[in-house]
Amino acid sequence: MEKLSPFQKLLAEGPKAINLGLPEFAEAMKAQGAEVVHVDWSPPPPEAEDLAEILEKLL
């Protein structure tokens, strides 16, 4: 038998989801019986420009 691709496996098994963003989306998937983990996401660390600003204040 042909091996299933990861996308075909998703269709066959149903979603087991990691949710980034709207917590409502995680709740709705849970309500439908799916396994979901919600990420308490926040933006990446400040960019170089901001770092320069911080350094300037420190020095």
Binding site: F7, L10, G14, A17, L20, L22, E24, M29, D40, S42
Partner: protein, 513 residues
């Protein structure tokens, strides 16, 4: 008018959560405008346009929280400001152990197979890339993801046998589970590939109400069928549905594909052992008509009918209403209008509904304007001012900047109904009501007070305003289709079983005017 701005450094909240906070603040006494947003350049520009002071806003960066409130006087604005913290505290009910990153989340759910991403556009692409690297499929709800990022993500996914649904993917149904804005539909033999969110919702709901069901419904994102993306997601979806044992027929709902993408898809369809129905919403070129090897439907309704016929299922009464029946109904209603009343105003929450309505107007040779026009010649000069027959997509960026989508927040549609009702030349207001997970908990109830108020105003003037609507959803949706229809009918709305029928009815109604 008193305006106040406050910048809180390095404080992040999700944008949709902040929109809810803003919505609540706007409802405070004496408040005329309120925005609690991240200090991105786009948001800052909106606040400057609203007249908030430049000196305060100049210090805000994309990772800072900006609170901007305008109201009748300082006291009322400060009272609203005092509520902000309380409202914000409702947004962080996350346990301290909650994972902070995708990789950490995988430790909690090692067999995870999909990342559902609805982060702001500027971060979404990066997280989607990480998800693919970790071997996860991606449902990418976020919009404002650059085209080149979309292409790179989709190429990467195809190499790995994964899929990227989106960006700008509103909905999908995977093995019976709805992602994003999805209706509750039974499982069955119909596989769907759709570039449009509300198109997928209408199709899957109608299939369900006709007694059949959906195996999987894959959203591709709005740009996938263009030649710049080349249908990368549609092709992956097609290949998988073709092999999926539960799928007996494949339906495609999208705007007409680019030429190169059409050729790629046509090749797949030609060789497919499974029948394929396509509903390409838009002007159909001769090439498309000639080269498309599957069945072609001109509306979502027709796509459902063709699908049912392929399956050998009876077409239910609600999908076989004839033009004559609609014309007869229209004739009865037209008698209630005064000679001055000539125009239709469509105020849609669903982008595809606005688009499908335009197509039907176009096919009937009736002039119209729209803020999301079928082609530039139909463009509405100012989205805030209707002209003649106007079909509005209230989910378009012009209206949603800093606000929730009208499928969640009815405010702007509510106000627009009242504004259109004041125009004595308006005969009909055409509405859609979209049910399902993550939509408003009561789309009918949100707008019924505006409908009743508009009707009462007109009755006082001795004229009659006709409200026509359709509800996209099923009896299994959290909002319950039948209940929503019943309440709209009680409020005097003429409710049709599909959006195409509602529009056809309106065209008969105004045809001779």
């Amino acid at each position: 008018m008193f305006r106040l701005c406050e910048v809180q450094k390095k404080r992040y909240f999700d944008s949709m959560f902040l929109m809810r906070v803003s919505q609540r603040l706007r409802a405070e006494p004496g408040i005329t405008e309120a925005a609690v947003v991240m200090g991105t350049p786009a948001n800052i520009q909106i606040l400057l346009d609203l007249g908030f002071p430049k000196e305060e806003l100049a210090h805000a960066g994309p990772n800072d929280l900006v609170v901007a409130i305008a109201g009748e006087d300082e006291e009322k604005v400060r009272a609203a400001l005092a509520k902000v913290e309380e409202l914000l505290s409702g947004g962080r009910e996350v346990s301290p152990q909650a994972p902070k990153t995708l990789a950490q989340a995988l430790a909690y759910l090692p067999n995870a197979n999909i990342a559902v991403i609805s982060l702001p556009g500027q971060y979404a692409g990066q997280e989607a890339k990480k998800a693919l690297e970790l071997g996860l499929n991606v449902f990418l709800f976020s919009s404002n993801v650059p085209l080149e990022v979309e292409i790179a993500l989709k190429n990467m996914a195809r190499e790995k046998g994964l899929i990227v649904m989106g960006p700008d993917c509103g909905t999908a149904i995977v093995n019976g589970v709805g992602l994003g804005f999805a209706n509750v539909v039974r499982r069955g033999p119909v596989g769907v590939i759709a570039a449009s969110g509300t198109g997928l919702q209408e199709f899957s709901s109608l299939v369900h109400r006709a007694g059949a069901g959906i195996s999987h419904a894959i959203g591709t994102g709005s740009r996938d069928f263009s030649d710049s993306v080349g249908g990368l997601t549609a092709l992956t979806a097609f290949e998988a549905l073709e092999k999926d044992e539960g799928t007996k027929v494949i339906a495609i709902i999208a705007k007409p594909p680019g030429e190169r993408t059409l050729a790629l898809l046509a090749e797949k369809v030609k060789r497919s052992p499974k029948p394929v129905v396509a509903c390409f919403l838009g002007p159909i070129s001769e090439t498309l008509r000639r080269e498309w090897p599957g069945l072609l439907a001109s509306t979502i309704d027709e796509a459902v009918v063709l699908t049912l016929q392929i399956l050998g299922r009876p077409v239910p009464r609600f999908l076989s209403v004839t033009e004559e029946e609609l014309a007869r109904l229209a004739l009865a209603e037209a008698g209630k209008l005064s000679p001055k009343q000539r125009y239709v105003r469509g105020i849609f929450a669903g982008g595809t509904f606005c688009y499908q309505a335009q197509l039907l107007f176009y096919r009937h040779g009736i002039q119209f304007r729209s803020n999301t026009p079928l082609s530039p010649q139909f463009a509405l000069a100012n989205p805030l001012r209707s002209e003649g027959h106007t079909l509005l997509d209230m989910g378009d960026e012009f209206f949603t900047q800093g606000r929730l989508h009208p499928m969640i927040d009815p405010t702007l549609r509510y106000e627009r109904i009242l504004a259109e009702a004041k125009d004595e030349e308006v005969a009909v207001i055409l509405l859609d009501f979209v049910l399902g997970y993550n939509a408003s908990s009561d789309p009918a109830g949100d707008l019924i007070p505006a409908i009743l108020e508009a009707q009462a105003q007109r009755e006082q003037q001795g004229t009659h305003l006709i409200f026509v609507g359709s509800v996209c959803g099923t009896e299994a949706d959290p909002q319950n289709y039948e209940d929503q229809v019943r309440r709209l009918k009680n409020a005097g709305v003429l409710v049709f079983p599909t959006q195409a029928q509602a529009t056809e009815f309106v065209l008969h109604l105004i045809g001779g005017r």
